[in-house]
């Protein structure tokens, strides 16, 4: 936890943010029993952002004493002046922030590295003993926490602590042709290590399920390329919400020409689709990336992007909200102490419907059920792709053979219009990192969705 506080700091000269931050990580990895990584790291410092005549100066330093603070405030002011003196006025000053105070809770991460290593070794021993037929295994632990303290010239003070801890297992089997097939699964989520992991045996049933899926995949078939009616699992629904729709509704992309721009107020999805970027809470549950005050000092609000099929709004920073005359949503977030806040998502999800998964599977004669994804990308047109790392054929209303890795793609608003069934459960995932200029831990969620999607394959 930080020593001292910025709360009483008052040496501001203009529209200014001052943020102190410390990111801590742990990374331990075992490959086939060998310790290939055993590391901890800490990156901390302070930054200032100063606005002048619509331009912005930013400076950061790893030192956080009072002289460093004064130095970066001056450097940020000089940077803003450098731009303002050479470029035309870019729209004057932004409206001030509403004063808000948020004091999050710091949770100590006291579990020794030795204890985590032993935990992983027990998991590795379990896999090696129980599944000697595997060609390779990797067991790893990754912990990340973002601790931030923010002070602005107009009375905002925020302290936040956002930890996540995950254990990942990657297993490889060889096909009868001698080629490798793998399956990767990640456990844990928001919270420090001790909040997520207590007994390795609790993970064994989930690891057994991963091995079973791997064996199904090893003996699986290649997907048939073409446009198919499919069911995508919550992991993919969350990816769809984030990659394919969410990015197009970030106001900076809208300003640049995102496909979503002209569609505000228009129908872009089936009427059963509602999609929201939640600030911190859903149905009373704290979400994987809870943001209460963003890194510009704006109180975070839910941003409803699609309401029953109608595109309703964007995610904003201060500047874009003022530009569109919209309420500020608090979507400006930075990853590290040396990073400036960008408009980005927090916890993005398609909301559940009323259908049952069994009925959804039974409704498909020839299609696929995709259950896991490895990565996803989308662009300004809404065209997206997801890597599929686990899935099954659906034949005559029943699950068939597992499939090997493939890719699915589509155009977001076209796909969302084909959604005709949404399951009644809601699953949140928090292992994802968004890669917009800087990395950032994000939450994604959703139910099962029936839709038409392009499938890559042979």
């Amino acid at each position: 936890m930080f020593q001292g506080s910025l709360e009483s700091f008052s040496s501001f000269f203009a529209d200014t943010e001052l943020r102190r931050q410390c990111n801590r990580t742990r990374r331990i990895g075992l490959m086939n029993g060998d310790v290939i990584s055993n590391a901890t790291s800490e990156a901390s410092g302070i930054n200032a952002r100063v606005f002048r005549a619509g331009r912005c100066g930013f400076a950061s330093s790893p030192e956080t004493d009072i002289s460093a603070v004064e130095r970066i405030l001056k450097q940020a002011s000089d940077n803003a002046a450098f731009l303002a003196d050479r470029l035309p006025d870019a729209g004057g000053n932004l409206a001030p922030r509403a004063p808000v105070t948020h004091r999050g809770i710091w949770v100590p991460d006291r579990v020794p590295q030795r204890e985590i290593l032993e935990f992983l070794q027990q998991i590795d021993d379990y896999i090696a003993t129980r599944y000697p037929q595997l060609a390779a295994r990797y067991v790893g632990c990754s912990c990340l926490s973002l601790e931030k303290e923010l002070r602005t010239n107009d009375g905002v003070y925020s302290y936040s602590f956002m930890p996540r801890s995950n254990i990942s297992v990657s297993l490889t089997a060889m096909t009868k042709e001698g080629t490798p097939v793998d399956r990767y699964e990640i456990f844990g989520g928001a919270g420090v290590y001790a909040e997520n992991f207590s007994d390795p045996a609790l993970l064994y049933p989930r690891i057994d399920a991963v091995v079973e899926e791997l064996m199904q995949k090893r003996d699986g078939v290649f997907a048939d390329a073409g446009r198919k009616t499919c069911i995508i699992a919550p992991e993919l629904a969350g990816m769809l919400a984030h990659e394919a729709v969410g990015h197009t509704a970030e106001a900076d992309f809208v300003i640049s020409g995102s496909v979503a721009g002209p569609y505000r107020g228009k129908e872009v999805a089936s009427s059963i689709v509602t999609l929201t970027d939640f600030a911190n809470t859903y149905n009373g549950q704290t979400l994987p990336t809870p943001i209460y005050v963003d890194d510009e000092g704006v109180e975070a609000k839910d941003a409803v992007l699609i309401d029953h099929g109608i595109l309703t709004g964007w995610m904003h920073n201060r500047s874009s909200a003022d530009r569109y005359g919209d309420p500020r949503t608090g979507n400006a977030l930075a990853f590290g102490f040396a990073d400036e806040p960008l408009i980005r998502m927090r916890n993005t999800a398609i909301l559940p419907g009323t259908d049952r998964l069994e009925d959804m599977i039974a409704s498909i004669d020839d299609g696929y059920y995709f259950t896991a994804t490895g990565n996803g990308q989308a662009d300004a047109t809404g065209e997206f792709m997801f890597g599929i790392t686990m899935g099954y054929e659906i034949k005559n209303g029943k699950l068939g053979q597992a499939i090997r890795d493939t890719t699915v793609s589509g155009v977001a608003f076209d796909l969302l219009k084909t959604v005709d069934m949404i399951s009644d459960q809601m699953v949140w995932l928090n292992a994802g990192m968004c890669g917009k200029k800087q990395p950032f831990p994000v939450g994604m969620g959703g139910p099962h969705i029936r839709c038409k999607i392009n499938v890559g394959g042979k």
Binding site: V35, N79, L83, S256, T381
Partner: protein, 431 residues
């Protein structure tokens, strides 16, 4: 001895005092200056001052690592203690150790001081030229930055390699717009020693912008066929990156899952392919001097279709009983062929010209599929139109064998020098 080297040597002493039998330390101090354009404005000038220290402690053959961004003696002592403690609880691994080749060298490259006035001038010039020459282009983000660093790698067995480096880079992300129509995102990027030329003329910038203008109204791909695909230099470079990761690198060779593990000095690609990793080439400022504690050297990866080297670190080499590689990968060079891009297009019966592959990670056996972004359909030797929703599927290893032609033109983006490459037998599918 400069301050960074003093810090590194101090850290080695701290680790030995804590009980390490050996140790290595990377320390660096640097600054980054960035002009950043987004949301329609050149709105940000950012200065990032930072330091970093990475410690590797060895207790026998047990390893622990710790990194931090502070030069304060208290923090360094704490980090050294934690690195040694991590090593003590780790597992013996005979492959661990320090580089055996004792070398003391210093490398200097570029200027450590950013020319802010010229950086701003070049960025403004870029937007003026865009407005005049490519009026339908809308820039999402663009940055020109200068990174300067003083770094050193020291070990307890006497190695000391230090690098002083200052480099510029430029990278815009853009699309074309006409009314409500929008092309896909496109981008290019380059690394350079001095901002002495227009940013539009770097790498294949003009071609990328011209392509985007022509991609504003793409035709959805229909049907499914097996055809030829010409990959742009940037896209082919990405595929080579996957080849390195999936078949040539530490992880897949240590765990034995690389499908090329027994292919050293055997044919793995078409005979026309010569692929090398040249971090020390004077043609690219974006190379590197150090590779895992050794002085980096250029090396051949594939010569005349034959695999000549893996990309193995010291640890990977010890684990697999193979030779450590001279380079740490990347910095790709592919020799040009004897036909022009236009001639290559003219011999395609039905296929695609693909500038960006947006796909899932290739699986261990090289199977891959994904969306062909920023692409054009080619029929009977002519580009007929831009396409959307086109998927391509293939196998990385097979694709290298199926290379049929390599262009005489190559693109140098400051980190690699690559041509256009034509590959047959790719499954292309649409709606």
């Amino acid at each position: 001895m400069n301050r960074v080297e003093q810090i590194a040597r101090q850290c080695l002493e701290y680790m030995l005092a804590e009980g390490a039998t050996d140790g290595a330390c990377n320390a660096s101090s640097g600054a980054k200056t960035e002009f950043y354009y987004e949301s329609g404005e050149l709105g940000l000038l950012r200065t990032v001052n930072n330091v970093s220290v990475s410690l590797k402690a060895l207790v026998g053959t047990k390893k622990g690592t710790e990194s931090l961004n502070s030069f304060s003696p208290e923090d360094l002592k704490r980090a050294a203690k934690e690195a040694v403690e991590a090593a003590k609880i780790s597992k013996e691994d005979p492959a661990e150790g320090l580089p055996e080749e004792i070398s003391v060298k210093r490398f200097e490259f570029g200027s450590l001081v950013p020319d802010r006035e010229t950086m701003l001038l070049r960025l403004r010039e870029f937007f003026d030229q865009l407005k005049a020459e490519y009026p339908s282009i809308s820039v999402d983000t663009a940055s020109i930055d200068h990174s300067a660093s003083e770094s050193v790698y020291c070990t307890t067995n006497g190695i000391c390699l230090s690098v002083s480096k200052g480099l510029y880079s430029f990278s815009p992300m853009f699309m074309a717009r006409e009314g409500e129509k929008t092309s896909s995102f496109n981008y290019y990027g380059a690394v350079f020693v001095a901002p002495d030329m227009p940013m539009l003329d770097l790498a294949d910038g003009r071609r990328a912008l011209e392509d985007s203008v022509r991609q504003v109204d793409p035709v959805p791909m229909e049907g499914k066929f097996t055809g030829e695909v010409i990959f742009t230099p940037g896209c082919f470079g990405s595929l080579l990156g996957s080849v390195e990761g999936n078949f040539l690198s530490d992880g897949v060779l240590i765990d034995g899952t690389s499908i090329w593990k027994d292919k050293l000095n055997a044919p793995v690609a078409a005979p026309c392919l010569r692929w090398s990793s040249r971090p020390r080439s004077e043609e690219i400022p974006g190379g590197y001097f150090m590779a895992g504690g050794y002085e980096a050297q250029n090396m051949e990866l594939i010569t005349d279709g034959v695999l000549k080297n893996f990309v193995l670190s010291r640890y990977g080499a010890k684990k697999t009983g193979r030779e450590r590689s001279a380079s740490a990968g990347g910095c790709y060079f592919v020799d040009g062929g004897d036909r022009s891009l236009q001639e290559m297009i003219s011999t395609v019966k039905h296929g695609l010209l693909v500038a960006r592959f947006s796909g899932g990670e290739p699986s261990g056996d090289g199977t891959m599929s994904g969306v062909a972004k920023n692409s054009f359909e080619i029929r009977d030797g002519k580009i007929v139109h831009a396409v959307s929703e086109a998927m391509i599927s293939g196998n990385l290893a097979e694709m290298l064998k199926d290379i049929t032609e390599i262009s005489s033109e190559r693109v140098n983006d400051g980190t690699s020098v690559l041509p256009w490459v034509k590959i047959k037998n790719i499954v292309i599918s649409g709606q």
